[in-house]
Every structure is written in C-alpha cells, then in structure tokens.
Symmetry: C2
Subunit: 205 residues, 2 copies
C-alpha cells in the first residue's frame, strides 16, 4: 500500500569544495533509486553536443527574465553575464508524477528555494573538518593559495548556514554520505506531517 | 568521523493486533543493527527459567511504587494486579553508552514516554487498512467475535493517536516495515536539531 503519491523535493547543498556533486552522482549511480535530477535553465548558448532539455533548458535572456518576474524560478544566479536557475514548473511536473526531484545547488540558492518550498527536504553536505575541506580544495591543484583562502572563508560562512537545513550529512566517504541520503529520503516519506491526512482517509475507507 | 555519541531512544508503538512485536523482532534479527531492547520492570513473580535482568527486572511492589514516586518509570501500567513498566535509569545508562534503545509498547505507554522524553523517535506501526487489522485479529484464532470487536474499537481510537508520532510506518510486510525503521534511525542521526551543536564545535577545532 502506498499512502504517498507525490514525490519529494530533495535539496542537496553545502559549501564549495565539499564534494556535493560527487555525492549526488554516487546517489544517481545506484540501482535502487527513483530520483530525477532537476535540469537547470540557462541563458548561456549551448555548447557543441549539448541538447536543450538534457544538459540545460536553454532560453533567451528575455525569456529568463520573464520567468523570474512570473515567479517561476525556484532559485537563480548570474554568472559571467548569464543566468542559471531552477524552473519551478518543471520541478512541479515531476513531483506531481510521484518522482523524487533532486537539486544540487549552492547554499545561497538553497536558501532561495527554502523560501518558496519550506516543506522540501534540505540536506547540508558537510566536510568532516575544516582541514579536510582545505585539503580537498588544494588537491584540485588548479587554484592558487589566495583563491583557496578565499573559498575557505566563503566555506566558513556557508557552514554557519547548516542550521537552516533539516539534515547534516558529513561527507566522510561518498558512499556513506549517499547511504545516509537514501535513508533520509525513505524516512521522510514516513514522516507523520507528510502522510497523516492520507493515512486517516485510508483508515476511514 | 562521528558527530553523535549518544544513542537514540526509539519508541515502536501502534494499535493492538498491528504486529508491532513481529516488526520489532525482525528488526533485532538483522545483522546490521546496533539496537538494545529495553527490558521492562515488573512486580510479577519470575516464571520457571526466567532470569532477573533478562526477561524482566523483577522487583517487589514496594520497590516499584518507590520508583514510580521517584519519577523513574518512563511509563507503566497495571495488569492482573501486577505492575509493568520501563525504568528510566536503565534506558539512560544504555543511551549514555551510545546504544540505541528500542521500546515496543502500547499507545498509552508511548504517550507517557513522550511527556518525559519528547526528543525520542516515535514510530507508529499502522495497519494497511482496518480490514487488514480485523483479519489479523481473527487469524489469531483464539478470540471470540465480541473480543475482536472490542479490540477493533480500541484500535480505531488508537489510530487517532498516530498524529502524536513522528513517523507512521505501514506494516504491509514485516521486512518492509523493518527496513523503514532502520532508515528512520539512520536519518534521525543526521537531523540538524540533533547534531548542530556538536558539528559547530567540530568545525571550530
């Protein structure tokens, strides 16, 4: 018996360098999931081989701004003169079908989403320590110490935002973090605040 | 890295006949758990082969009443002139060691526990339908229709109490219900309200 038909919106976020992309990919590589990755919308031009609706929903700047004004952006940001964001209508469509929709976004974006969808599941991916985060940023090998320091400072302030999330998942190992997120999704589907109405109706039948 | 050292108290409850005992046993038969079953205290005499501290903590009526008055009973009830209950000190001792303590108790007892330990994890085991519950009570085969009806009426009012729990787990199959409880325990350990303080301390190191 299924007492929930609607999917959950799962927001995976955390400081830059924490490895949230790796955790999200590990999650999607599992056989036992039922997750949909939310495709972002952007105003940047498609690169060779990119298909509209696959890597991104590609739209014009006018269209993006129109959708911002319509309230259809769950979150958005500007980067290198282009907009990037999450279109609400596409997310809702998947949730209505009963799919779990996963957003993997920066802390600032997650806070925008939370204002519009406070009932979503907010998971903060956290480094095991500040030292571990610094190591990770260094091991990328592509950045100078000044940039690393800048990102560490940003990470420090982003870590303060963990309080705004429903869950804190320490990325000690990627598999462990992915396991925990799967458990969180499963548990959230059983939360009384999500299922009580449907359950009581079922019992009255 | 472990950011929680204290165990969780998990209260498994639900209407009579729902199969909460079977679910709890299935949970304990798993290899991958770290759960301790809370041993009740009773004033009834030990039966042949029963050992103090194994099946029950056996105490005198005077001792039980003294512990009630001391506030050491998380919950208790009287049945056939004997007291049965859950001693708080034994539960705390296990939680302090980092063990997860599982109580499997009636709805009324669970509500007593909730007054004393609102932060515990409250799981309501629910029947897939009232019809399924009636079948289960009938299939026990030992009870007359009048008693079945009485228990069904009690179950109906107990089902109203589901709202007081954190989670509703439908006992469609025992393994499925046990899986969900394992996921709930895992997810609860990552809840921000439980780990934020420790996590922030860790980040300051």
């Amino acid at each position: 018996m299924k007492i929930h038909n609607r999917g959950l919106l799962i927001v995976i976020s955390g400081p830059s360098g924490v490895g949230k992309g790796t955790v999200r990919k590990a999650l999607f590589e599992r056989a036992d999931h039922d997750l949909i990755y939310s495709i972002s919308m952007t105003t940047r031009a498609p690169r060779n081989g990119e298909t509209n609706g696959v890597e991104y929903h590609f739209v014009s700047k006018e269209e993006f701004v129109r959708q911002i004004n319509n309230g259809n952006l769950l979150e958005y940001a500007e980067f290198c003169d282009n907009y990037y964001g999450t279109p609400l209508d596409k997310v809702q469509e998947q949730l209505d079908k009963g799919n779990e929709v996963v957003l993997e976004i920066e802390v600032q974006g997650a806070m925008q989403v939370k204002e519009k969808m406070p009932d979503a599941v907010y998971v903060f991916i956290a480094p095991p320590s500040m030292k571990a985060l610094e190591e990770r940023l260094k091991n990328r090998g592509t950045e100078c110490q000044e940039l690393i320091n800048k990102r560490l400072n940003k990470a420090r302030s982003e870590i303060q935002m963990a309080a705004e999330y429903g869950y804190i998942v320490v990325n000690d190992t990627v598999e462990n973090a992915a396991d925990k997120i799967m458990a969180i999704i499963r548990a959230e589907h059983a939360r009384t605040i999500r299922v009580l109405d449907q359950y009581q109706k079922l019992m009255e039948e």
